[in-house]
């Protein structure tokens, strides 16, 4: 039941309430622990499952990816573009592997779908860029995060 409280005169004057409020702010100002993180020096710990910057895993310098196109198939944002090709040491490899980072929603479905453990999402979360929005294959091969 909704109780209707009739405030007394002192309550309606609000003066005492305002003073109490002022005291609360002052308490925060003086005593409370500050929550700000001094970013470049201090860093927040993220879970190992955090999904950040993509990368393509390579073994002995050869990318794991075989351009099977399961990631562009499963990608809900349709941000992965692959062109497959053939070369001497690898029957099928991605000639072009691009991730449109502006479209990507970091859902990690590509990682789930990948049969070759090739595309992964790293823990890197400092991804601000001035120009490039499309991650090329070479760039993706360099990224690692903490993995």
């Amino acid at each position: 039941m909704l109780a209707i409280r009739k405030p007394g005169f002192l309550n309606r004057l609000y003066l005492i309430e305002i003073i109490r409020g002022l005291w609360i702010t002052m308490k925060n100002f003086l005593f409370h622990k500050k929550v700000t993180l001094q970013f470049p020096e201090q860093r927040r710990d993220y879970s190992n499952r955090y999904r950040g910057q993509h990368y393509i895993k390579a073994v002995n310098g050869v990318e794991n990816c075989t351009a099977c196109m399961l990631c562009p198939t499963v990608c809900p944002a349709e941000c992965i573009h692959i062109v497959a090709g053939e070369r001497e040491d690898k029957e099928k490899y991605p000639v072009k592997f691009e991730i449109d980072s502006l479209r990507c929603c970091f859902c990690g479905m590509c990682e789930e779908a990948c049969p070759k453990d090739a595309i992964k999402l790293s823990n890197i979360y400092e991804m601000s860029q001035q120009t490039r929005t499309v991650y090329e294959k070479d760039f993706l091969l360099e990224q690692r995060g903490n993995k």
């Binding site: 351009a67 099977c68 196109m69 399961l70 198939t73 497959a84 053939e86 029957e91 099928k92 070759k116």
Partner: protein
């Protein structure tokens, strides 16, 4: 009609029919690898096990003919166990390279493994590997993936009429290959890829281009010859990646020749003219539609005008050209052209014993049914307007002014003074009549390239004299 019972359903059958096709008619799918309705039955893969009452052992459905009162079970425990065992044997040596394989997504082995196989593999030994022979320009071989269904060997023997694939060695060392490792000679090699239930024979043309599940499929008719083979165009993003045959037992059964299969390539040839162009001296300039159409209208009103209609056009287009010619000037002559030497359907006939016909264009019969007489010799007139769908062979043209309407490549434009780009067979709807007199519909798979217009639209714009509204 005699009846048998499959999974409790009573099904009628023709005497001599095997259980796979009877079950299929009843809506019951029996998994197969080596069985193909267009080929002989060998019962090699042992995938189509069914249990038949009063028979002590499991039977292969493909080699068992239905009989009156036969009671068949396709889902019993024994059948399931038998199929799982077969699947396990077939997969013993099959590499796990589905991510690489072009067949994945439309692979019988994948489907049946998913449907009937076990999730786990008990075998941990090395798989056998092969060095593959070059199979020629059409087919890429990968013997590692082969399950020895021998469909390809039977196809060569029974359909293509050439015994070029064989199984050499025996047992685990079996190798399905060409005789002496030669390249494939048949002109129907593309079918090897279609009938192969795994990825061991794939098309070189399609290799790594796209995955099967990404393709959109449009059923249409091949325009390669007057046979009118039914085919399916597989395309994505306005680009055709391959064509495969469609089943039509009256015309092409399950097959298709390589010429028709790879005929689509001229549609997306970079040298195809997709802008209205006119000749200025020796060079070609991109022109405006209204300019060329009004020029055509003026010229077509002249004294000696010849409209040449390619027999690769659809009936609808030919009729539109006839009507337009009548509306423009009664003096316009209309003649058809197509394959030199095959001017009438009387001269048409099979080129080989399989599918190919002498006429290289799809609609010779249609042109005849519309009363268009064939062009004999070279085209002589003041003004010649050539309507062409892309395949009809251009005749010699002796004219003061020649227009080309339709699909032309850059190397073909030198006869003409102006080119009005039209639509190819993949970009339009229409009807063609094959050599048997069967009318079949073509269906649009692609959007027109560049500034191409359909023949109907061009003629309509020209006749209505509203060229100032032509904006393209």
């Amino acid at each position: 009609m005699p009846k048998c019972t499959i999974d409790g359903k009573e099904v009628e059958f023709k005497p001599g029919e095997n259980l796979v096709s009877v079950a299929k008619r009843a809506g019951i799918e029996i998994p197969v690898f080596c069985y193909h309705p267009g080929l002989s039955v060998v019962a090699q893969c042992r995938m189509c096990y069914v249990e038949v009452e009063k028979m002590p052992k499991l039977q292969t459905a493909c080699s068992t003919q239905a009989a009156e009162g036969m009671v068949v079970k396709t889902q019993s425990e024994a059948v399931k166990k038998g199929r799982a065992g077969t699947m396990e044997f077939l997969l013993l040596n099959h590499p796990l390279d589905c991510p690489i394989c072009d067949k994945s997504g439309e692979c019988d082995l994948q489907d049946n493994s998913f449907g009937h196989g076990s999730e786990f593999m008990r075998h941990s030994e090395e798989r056998r590997t092969y060095v593959d022979v070059d199979m020629g320009p059409v087919i890429q071989k990968n013997m590692n993936r082969c399950i020895h269904c021998t469909r390809c060997i039977r196809f060569g023997d029974e359909v293509a009429g050439i015994h070029e694939m064989v199984a050499i060695k025996r047992g685990n060392n079996i190798d399905i290959t060409t005789i002496d490792g030669k390249q494939l000679k048949t002109e129907y090699a593309g079918n090897y890829s279609d009938i192969c239930p795994t990825g061991s024979l794939t098309l070189k043309d399609f290799r790594f281009k796209k995955r099967a599940w990404m393709l959109k499929k449009t059923p249409t008719v091949c325009e390669g010859c007057s046979k009118g083979c039914n085919m399916e165009v597989q395309h994505e993003g306005n680009v055709v990646y391959r064509c495969v045959p469609r089943e039509n037992l009256e015309i092409n059964k399950y097959w298709m020749c390589d010429e028709g299969r790879f005929n689509y390539q001229y549609v997306q040839d970079p040298s195809r003219i997709v802008d209205p162009m006119k000749k200025a001296g020796d060079s070609w300039l991109v022109a405006r539609w209204e300019e060329l159409l009004s020029g055509l209208r003026t010229d077509a009103a002249g004294a000696s005008v010849l409209f040449l209609v390619g027999t690769d056009l659809t009936n609808e287009e030919m009729k539109a050209i006839q009507d337009a010619a009548r509306a423009l000037s009664p003096k316009i002559q209309i003649q058809s052209f197509g394959t030199p030497g095959v001017e009438t359907s009387g001269q048409d006939g099979p080129r080989d014993q399989i599918l190919k016909m002498k006429s290289k264009t799809a609609n010779l019969k249609g042109a005849e049914s519309l009363g268009i007489s064939p062009l004999l010799g070279s085209a002589k007139s003041d003004v010649v307007v050539v309507f062409r769908g892309g395949r009809a062979e251009l005749p010699r043209i002796e004219a003061k002014k020649a227009y080309g309407v339709g699909v032309f490549l850059e190397k073909e434009r030198n006869f003409f003074h102006a080119i009005l780009p039209g639509l190819s067979f993949l970009e339009k709807d229409g009807t063609v009549i094959n050599h048997q007199g069967v009318p079949q519909g073509m269906k649009r798979a692609l959007l027109p390239r560049g500034r191409c217009k359909s023949t109907g639209e061009m003629l309509m714009l020209m006749l209505n004299q509203r060229n100032n509204e032509v904006t393209a």
